[in-house]
């Protein structure tokens, strides 16, 4: 189906903004692919520091994962409301998404603090370095997403969205869902599969 309803369409009828976002997300796959591969290679190199099985708190991380997963639902509801030009619901769901994202990041900060207290610093071992780099990069992506969501809420309230409003919400939604799918992979490969 050709997308002809959005602004800034190219001669193909496809939105340039959307095309650019998907190309960006494709390139992000390469970034996280590198980080995940490096972690997989080094996860057993503990160098006398704590092992993953000694420090991971699976029930806690499961709840965090569930929170991030549900934020994808609230994000898609925001996109749906934006397509119906329902500003009130769009703002509501964007705010809920940002709050769920903030809960996830808060959980990650708590987790990092707990791991550090248990002896896993960034330079303790190759496992520590690759773990903090991977999950830290993901956390930064979620934080950037939260900033974008809250900025969008502010912009929507001032009704000064550049271009088509629904498309802007959808683009931020695509980014948000991307950080969710990256976490789906991290949760399984890093937390659930033992070394």
């Amino acid at each position: 189906m050709t997308d002809t309803t959005h602004g800034h369409a190219s001669s193909t009828g496809i939105s340039n903004v959307k095309l650019g976002m998907w190309a960006f997300l494709g390139s992000e796959c390469l970034l996280f692919g590198g980080l995940i591969s490096t972690y997989m290679l080094y996860r057993g190199r503990v160098s006398g520091g704590p092992r993953p099985s000694q420090i991971f708190d699976i029930p806690f991380t499961s709840v965090s994962s569930f929170v991030l997963l549900m934020s994808s639902l609230t994000m898609v509801l925001a996109v749906s409301a934006a397509h119906k030009d329902d500003d009130r619901k769009t703002n509501l769901w964007l705010t809920v998404t940002a709050l769920l994202g903030a809960t996830f990041v808060g959980g990650q900060v708590y987790e990092f603090t707990a791991f550090y207290k248990e002896g896993l610093g960034f330079s303790t071992s190759l496992f520590g370095s690759s773990f903090y780099t991977l999950t830290g990069f993901h956390g930064v992506h979620v934080t950037v997403g939260i900033i974008m969501l809250m900025s969008l809420v502010g912009i929507l309230k001032r009704s000064s969205v550049p271009g088509k409003k629904a498309e802007v919400v959808e683009m931020i939604g695509l980014y948000w869902h991307f950080v969710d799918i990256v976490w789906i992979i991290i949760f399984t490969l890093v937390y659930l599969i033992p070394v």
């Binding site: 189906m1 997308d3 390469l30 591969s37 949760f187």
Partner: protein, 101 residues
């Protein structure tokens, strides 16, 4: 360019109830994933986890990110990046004998 409401609804094909159903399925799969930590699945442990991970990934990309309903060029762009990443890093890990450890 004007927005055609009917077309928009068709492109973003699912209702809110549909999205909630997808979220419930995703939550149930996550529950199953977590259960593998507590229940011994034997030789099925690793394949089951990987299959559930892929199912969740594809469901979010297809339904929440609308790839299933959107122009196929977007699918090509995203999956090309993904396949390239998987290929490159599988080769990278293979050079370190990761798969025969």
């Amino acid at each position: 360019m004007t927005t055609n409401t009917a077309e928009t609804k068709q492109e973003h094909g699912m209702s809110n109830a549909g999205y909630i159903r997808i979220a419930i399925i995703l939550a149930a799969i996550t529950g199953l994933e977590v259960s593998t930590y507590y229940v011994d699945f034997g030789v099925l442990f690793l394949p089951a986890l990987l299959i559930m991970m892929v199912i969740k990934f594809v469901m979010v990309v297809s339904y929440f990110m609308h790839l299933k309903f959107d122009n196929k060029i977007f699918s090509f762009l995203f999956y090309a990046g993904l396949v390239l990443a998987v290929g490159v890093y599988a080769a990278f890990l293979a050079t370190f004998k990761f798969f025969i450890q």
